[in-house]
């Protein structure tokens, strides 16, 4: 396909996208079976929706209340705790995921918005035996300190590179300006993204 692992959201190169169906059952079902039925209020109204979407390259079916936040669904139902929450209000970018290749804030999305989408979280970025070039660059160039903003930062950087494969440092700063980091002062993050671009160009 010639899709760049830096730019594309096409994970077919290294994430076997599946024959096998990845089924996630929300905890509410278990609760309900035990006769409790507490599920952020939704069990009572019986509003459980069956969602079909692709999660990190795997076809996924999910029984879920459609108005739960995507970040909670990812972290609690799917066990993908790499997606972090820092503010719950769309201000910090820690919960950034890719929706059809574009960066979106999972704390501002509701579960129903997953339907039919290609979702990439930080857990879906790496290749089979090696980290994604952006992940590798973050590690090598000291872009990770406490690391809590790192997943969102990497996904935003990936979305930036798919829009603009040869960004300047100023472009990188602008592209990451929606992601807050309290540890690094951003410089090494910019270095890392630049390095990933350079590596991509050299290998092209």
């Amino acid at each position: 396909m010639g899709v760049s692992p830096l730019r594309g959201n096409d994970k077919t190169e290294y994430l076997p996208c599946g024959e096998e169906e990845h089924r996630v059952t929300s905890p509410s079902k278990g609760e309900a079976r035990r006769g409790r039925g507490f599920y952020d209020g939704w069990y009572y109204s019986g509003l459980i929706m069956k969602l079909y979407f692709t999660l990190n390259g795997k076809k996924t079916t999910l029984d879920v209340a459609p108005d739960r936040r995507v970040i909670d669904v990812l972290r609690e139902d799917c066990g993908l705790t790499g997606t972090k929450e820092g503010c719950g209000a769309g201000e910090c970018g820690a919960c950034t995921i890719l929706v059809d290749g574009e960066s979106r804030l999972s704390c501002l999305m509701l579960a129903a918005q997953l339907a039919g989408r290609q979702i990439t979280t930080i857990e879906g970025m790496a290749g089979k035996d090696r980290p994604h070039p952006l992940q590798d660059a973050f590690i090598q160039h000291g872009a990770v300190q406490c690391g809590f903003c790192t997943p969102g930062m990497i996904l935003s950087a990936s979305a930036l590179l798919s829009r603009n494969p040869r960004p300047t440092r100023a472009d990188i700063r602008a592209g990451l300006s929606g992601n807050l980091c309290r540890c690094t002062g951003y410089q090494k993050i910019v270095d890392a993204v630049e390095a990933a671009v350079r590596r991509e160009e050299e290998s092209a």
């Binding site: 790499g82 972090k84 209000a89 000291g142 690391g147 300006s177 993050i189």
Partner: protein, 765 residues
């Protein structure tokens, strides 16, 4: 990545980098568990008042509510705190700030929790509140703590060296100024959280985002009346902390909750607003300075009065003020000083530890005074600092003799020699229309360690595992500062093992040993020193036991190599796996303790400080900043930043630079935008849309110069570098603004609004 030996001095990537970049690292907040319950807190919402009733009946009636607890349900003293135990876990009689916890709810899910919290009826008879230090100090002021013997004064203290008052009168030149700095928020991205449960034997396990797991255990035990051996605290990597997780946040609440859940796991996770409302802050301080000098610029005398607003509870307020007072005169020689401090209770949110612990505040004032003095004397501000900078052997402004590495002069020289300083005049001239450019500098320092009165101790433990790997048991948290990586380097260096063969255990009160808090720029220094000794002992054992197997009559020929010990003469090797199989479990573990050295001077001042005064070791920095001011809006744009930092030897250039960069960025936020705005104790900007921390576009390209010295007491000659960089940006930027526009701002942050107002105010006649 190919395996490598993580040696000292190399830019070794973080030990935790790969797991964090993969999203695989489990922070406290990533712990959930089967059958999880959620806990939350109903907060007072009233800044000062007497609790009439907390009616939990309606909340208890909702199905799915497991427990609703109030102050009456807290076993033990119901008082948490580090030095002074004055903060209730759940308020019992009074509330003292809006964020006080009045009830704790445990519920099946978050929606039920939220509903139950809203159904608790809290009746509080409001009392008049005190919201400024002046209000709190009035003779008729309402008392925040009725029983506190000094009224609203948590601590009044004095540091005196020589006779400042008399000396000030004899000075050629004398200047006076008052500075104000606001409360700010740590704004770590991972908010306060944890998960707790009770095991079958009654033990309570708490996984929590904390800087001080071992002290937490003691604090919980005291507040809840639980024996220490019933508590196990696990402290994973933190998603930032900066001082804000040094002391109890969710700890006592979660353990209390876990006492009521029949073994089910219970999770508490403050949202951003709750983190603002209930979390700790950097102290707001008023700083009144009087500085005297000779006409040639030699500093002679300093008198300052510092008023720290510590909020509703003591937390570390007295200790923060002590450190601020110890640094109040800057990294300079001033023979006569009188430094007075008042740490004041108010009904504002609780102030406590934050990177640059009291020092970031005074740095604004003492460097502001240096710029004012330089202006008045017509001396170059850098020359003035060079002239007065502390050298080894001098006494600092607290009267302590500088016996250890003292590199502020070298830092200033590095800035002086840099093109940014040399070419500043041309750069300033090139400003565009309606723009003014300025260059500012600051010389700062920051003490390391706890200081006198409290052993700054660490207990390092290192093991050769059964599998022949090296495992380090770190008892001191890594909140992002990178001490864990330094530990891997130390083990790698001494034991000559590859990074893939070295494991790290993060703090766990049952697996690791007490090593103090992740605070005071001390983690790598103190634990590192202990770890060197533990690793050296392990190396002796590994070669010693190999000698038994290889029948060597001397250890001289035995060398540790990756995965094996080799007799260099015979070429015979023993793999570490074989060695591990032969050694007993006890023989495979080495433990060593290190206690930081303390000041030898016997000072006859600062007697009010129970702990934390004075300090032996300091790191130093000189900062230079280039700013551009928009004359039309007052907005300051930081164009370039240079920091020369002396923190002994650099163990890891990448990690060193990370600390410098991060501190500068936080300092720029402190200088330009960050301020917790309060109205009668209510925070009006409790979110990232209104409380502005710097983003990627707000921070310039930074240059970090390491000015290396050798600190003989440090591991491989290092000193802590975590905090010192925080102290430079505010004074440097204020100095640059003065350089650009001739206005000396004494109130931070230097927002566009304030700068514009200052620019349009005609100078006094």
């Amino acid at each position: 990545m190919n395996p490598y030996i993580p040696e000292i001095g190399k830019p070794v990537p973080r030990a935790d980098g790969a797991a964090k970049a993969a999203g695989a690292e489990k922070y406290a907040v990533d712990h959930y568990g089967e059958n999880l319950l959620w806990a939350g807190v109903r907060r007072a919402g009233v800044a000062h008042g007497r609790i009439r009733c907390v009616d939990t009946a309606a909340a208890l009636q909702i199905s799915g509510v497991i427990a609703v607890l109030t102050g009456r349900d807290v076993p033990g003293t119901n008082r948490q705190g580090i030095v002074h135990k004055d903060q209730p876990v759940l308020a019992d009689e009074k509330v003292r700030h809006r964020g006080d916890a009045v009830a704790l709810v445990v519920a099946e899910d978050r929606a039920t929790l939220k509903k139950a919290l809203s159904l608790i009826r809290v009746e509080i008879d409001p009392l008049p509140g005190v919201f400024t230090v002046d209000d709190a100090l009035r003779p008729d002021a309402p008392l925040v703590h009725d029983e506190h013997p000094q009224g609203n004064i948590l601590l009044k203290a004095t540091i005196q060296a020589g006779g400042a008052q008399a000396a000030l009168e004899g000075c050629d030149i004398f200047i006076e100024e008052t500075f104000h700095v606001p409360a700010i928020s740590h704004a770590f991205i991972e908010t306060e959280n944890g998960v707790a449960w009770q095991e079958e034997d009654g033990k309570i396990v708490l996984v929590v985002s904390t800087q001080a797991p071992f002290r937490d255990k003691w604090e919980i035990s005291h507040a809840l009346g639980l024996p220490m051996d019933r508590l196990r605290i696990i402290g994973p990597y933190l998603g930032g902390a900066f001082g804000g997780k040094d002391g109890a946040t969710v700890q006592c609440l979660l353990v209390l909750a876990a006492l009521h859940t029949g073994g089910r796991r219970v999770k508490m996770w403050w949202d951003r607003e709750e983190s603002f409302v209930a979390g700790y802050k950097r102290h707001a301080v008023r700083l009144q300075y009087r500085l005297g000098a000779r006409s040639d610029g030699t500093l002679q005398a300093l008198h300052c009065r510092l008023y720290y607003d510590t909020g509703a509870y003591a937390h570390l307020g007295g200790e923060v003020m002590a450190l601020g007072m110890e640094h109040a005169g800057g990294p300079y020689r001033i023979p006569d000083t009188l430094i007075e401090g008042w740490c004041i209770y108010t009904n504002n949110p609780i102030a406590g530890a934050m990177r640059g612990f009291g020092v970031a505040q005074v740095s604004f004032a003492f460097e502001g005074m240096m710029d004012l003095l330089a202006g008045k004397l017509g001396i170059d501000p850098l020359e003035l600092r060079l002239k007065n900078a502390l050298r080894r052997g001098d006494r600092n402004t607290a009267g302590v003799t500088m016996t250890q590495s003292t590199g502020v002069l070298d830092c200033l020289a590095a800035v002086q020699n840099h093109p940014r300083w040399q070419e500043r005049k041309a750069w300033k001239k090139a400003a565009g229309p309606f723009r003014r450019r300025g260059v500012g500098i600051a010389a700062v320092f920051n003490a390391m360690g706890y200081g006198r009165g409290l052993p700054d101790s660490a207990l390092a433990k290192v093991e050769l595992t059964k599998e022949g790997r090296i495992r380090i048991y770190s008892g001191v948290s890594d909140m992002g500062q990178g001490n864990a990586t330094a530990f891997v380097q130390i083990a790698g260096q001494i034991l000559c093992q590859e990074h893939t063969a070295i494991e790290l255990v993060q703090p766990d009160t049952e697996r690791t040993l007490p090593s103090g808090s992740a605070a005071a720029s001390r983690t790598t220094y103190t634990y590192g020193n202990a770890l060197i000794r533990a690793c050296e002992e392990l190396r002796r054992r590994l070669t010693g036991r190999t000698a038994l197997i290889l029948l060597s009559d001397t250890l001289d020929d035995l060398e540790l190599l990756p995965g094996r010990v080799k007799n260099l003469m015979s070429g015979r090797e023993i793999p570490l796996t074989a060695l591990a199989a032969m050694m007993t479990p006890e023989d495979r573990v080495c433990i060593s303790q290190f206690i930081m050295p303390v000041v030898r001077d016997k000072l006859d001042t600062g007697k009010e400080f129970v702990i934390g005064f004075p300090h032996l070791l300091f790191s130093y920095a000189a900062h230079l900043v280039c700013i551009e001011v928009d004359e039309l809006t007052g907005a300051i744009n930081v164009e370039a930043y240079l920091a020369a930092t002396e923190a002994g030897r650099v163990l890891n250039p990448q990690a060193f630079e990370q600390q410098v960069h991060g501190a500068i960025a936080q300092g720029i936020g402190y200088a330009l935008s960050e301020e917790v705005l309060m109205q009668e104790g209510r925070i009006v900007n409790p979110d990232f849309a209104t409380y502005i921390i710097p983003g990627a576009l707000d921070i310039p390209e930074m240059v970090s110069l390491a000015v290396e010295t050798y600190e003989p007491t440090g591991p491989y000659g290092m000193k802590g570098v975590g905090e010192v960089g925080m102290n430079g940006p505010l004074p440097a930027i204020a100095g640059a603004l003065a350089d650009a526009c001739g206005v000396h701002m004494t109130r931070s942050p230097l927002t566009a609004e304030r700068v514009l107002a200052a620019l349009s105010t005609p100078p006094p006649p």
